[in-house]
């Protein structure tokens, strides 16, 4: 197995240019969480010409709604949710400087076009491995939309958070290529 590539947020254009489908990455630094309801609110703010609750430039959004932490835990189980539900919203955030998204499942053509145009990478984390992935999260803090409960926007500090480059800025798609390779 090839050694995973270490990346740290915020990401530069060069960071995402280096990533190709199939690469395994370990993420360090701050990432932000958001899923359906939070995405809707963020894009509403953009459409109203208002400020976002955090500076999205160079950042990664992780599509996750964690379980509540047990006493002594930083965060509960925290694996990715299915990404296509964010497809309607992601291009707006990518145009604002978002450099990475973590989720599971393939993205739409509209998202791919935005990823190519503005240089943003799509990473897959292992769905259903929420207990394991939570081990890479060292700090969690709700920074917006607390009323959304599990869907609130959280600022996470991660160490060696594992993900796989599923769709890169060159339009390559591991969901398509991987399937081709193993189909009979």
């Amino acid at each position: 197995m090839v050694k995973p590539i270490k990346i740290s947020t915020p990401l530069s254009n060069q960071d995402v240019e280096n990533l190709k489908i199939g690469d395994e990455v370990l993420i360090n630094g701050v990432i932000y969480t958001g899923r359906d309801a939070a995405h809707k609110r963020l894009v509403d703010l953009i459409n109203e010409g208002k400020e976002l609750p955090f500076d999205i430039s160079g950042q990664i959004i992780y599509f996750v709604g964690p379980t509540p932490p047990k006493p002594g835990q930083v965060i509960g189980s925290a694996g990715p949710t299915t990404s296509y539900r964010m497809d309607a919203y992601s291009p707006y955030l990518i145009a604002r400087g978002l450099k990475g998204m973590i989720g599971k499942g393939a993205r739409s053509q509209e998202v791919v076009e935005a990823m190519k145009k503005y240089k943003c990478v799509y990473l897959a984390a292992i769905g259903g491995a929420g207990a394991l992935l939570a081990k890479s999260i060292k700090k969690a803090e709700v920074i917006a939309y607390e009323d959304l409960g599990p869907e609130a926007v959280r600022r996470l500090e991660v160490e060696s958070f594992p993900a796989i480059v599923a769709q890169d800025i060159y339009g390559n798609n591991l969901y398509v290529e991987g399937m081709k390779k193993y189909a009979r």
């Binding site: 709604g65 509960g76 189980s77 292992i126």
Partner: protein, 279 residues
């Protein structure tokens, strides 16, 4: 007549919610191991290994296997000679879900369809009750995640579509679902009955021991045929390519109307969670 206290049902449902979410059944773990040994994709093997580690952490630390701790789906087999005392069966189950999701630090995932406002306690559950002979009460709690549920479908085929039409629909459904439902998946197939009954059969099929065959040899053969076709799609663990797309295909069948051939496909992610108890 045997009396069972409603409070006892609440207590058991609460415990089952937590156990189901923390402790992946042995048959699923065994299926992971077998899949890992046969998987040709190195990335696929690595994913299956991480799923094994995840299940171990969840069981040892009593934390949820997956952050989507699901809709509380509860199957009840109620003996005709059982009387529930001190409250109603439905309320007892609902309270068990509320307590289980609260005290177990499970995610509350149930909301209003339009406003998307969360109900806050993962209620109401979905309750299916079968009346059976005897004086036992069997409770099965099967938390169901949203990602794989979203990939499920019901269709009304024409009788002329036949077995071939059934196989094509199921395989295509899995193909179109790609990595979305967290493969390796378990595919529940309901054939026959009515529109709603086909869906219920498909859901019940997911409760079977992973990899067990239908007792009817013809259906067992179709299960095997569909499983091979699905695994030849190459979707693989998490949809990133590989030979393990489904761990099992389970079919349940019921007679249908002369005009109809109802078919339901209920997809379950690899976190196939269900726990049961008989009182």
């Amino acid at each position: 007549m045997r009396e069972i206290e409603a409070s006892c049902i609440t207590e058991k449902v609460k415990e089952l919610c937590m156990e189901a979410n923390y402790d992946l059944p042995k048959d699923v773990l065994l299926a992971f191991q077998k899949a890992k040994e046969a998987e040709e994709s190195p990335l696929g093997v690595s994913i299956l290994e991480q799923l094994q580690r995840n299940a171990e952490i969840a069981r040892n630390e009593r934390v949820p296997i997956c952050q989507d701790t699901g809709f509380g789906v509860v199957f009840i087999e109620l003996g005709e000679d059982v009387k529930i005392s001190g409250g109603s069966l439905k309320e007892a189950i609902t309270e068990g879900i509320r307590q289980g999701y609260g005290e177990g630090y499970l995610r509350k995932s149930i909301c209003h369809p339009f406003t998307r406002k969360n109900t806050g306690d993962n209620t109401p559950p979905i309750i299916h009750i079968d009346l059976v002979q005897g004086e036992e009460l069997k409770i099965i709690v099967a938390p169901k995640g949203g990602g794989s549920e979203n990939m499920s479908r019901v269709t009304m085929l024409k009788p002329s579509d036949g077995i071939e039409g059934i196989i094509d629909f199921v395989v295509n459904r899995v193909k179109e679902s790609s990595g979305n439902p967290c493969p390796p998946i378990i595919v529940g197939v309901g054939i026959g009955g009515t529109f709603e009954y086909a869906a219920l059969l498909a859901k019940k099929a997911l409760l079977r021991h992973v990899g067990s065959s239908n007792a009817d040899p013809e259906l067992a053969g179709i299960e095997n045929n569909i499983l091979n076709k699905i695994n030849n799609l190459g979707i693989g663990p998490m949809g990133l390519g590989g030979r393990t797309t489904a761990l099992a295909v389970h079919i349940e069948m019921h007679p249908c109307h002369i005009a109809s051939l109802p078919l339901a496909v209920n997809i379950n992610c690899h976190a196939s969670r269900h726990k049961e108890i008989s009182l």
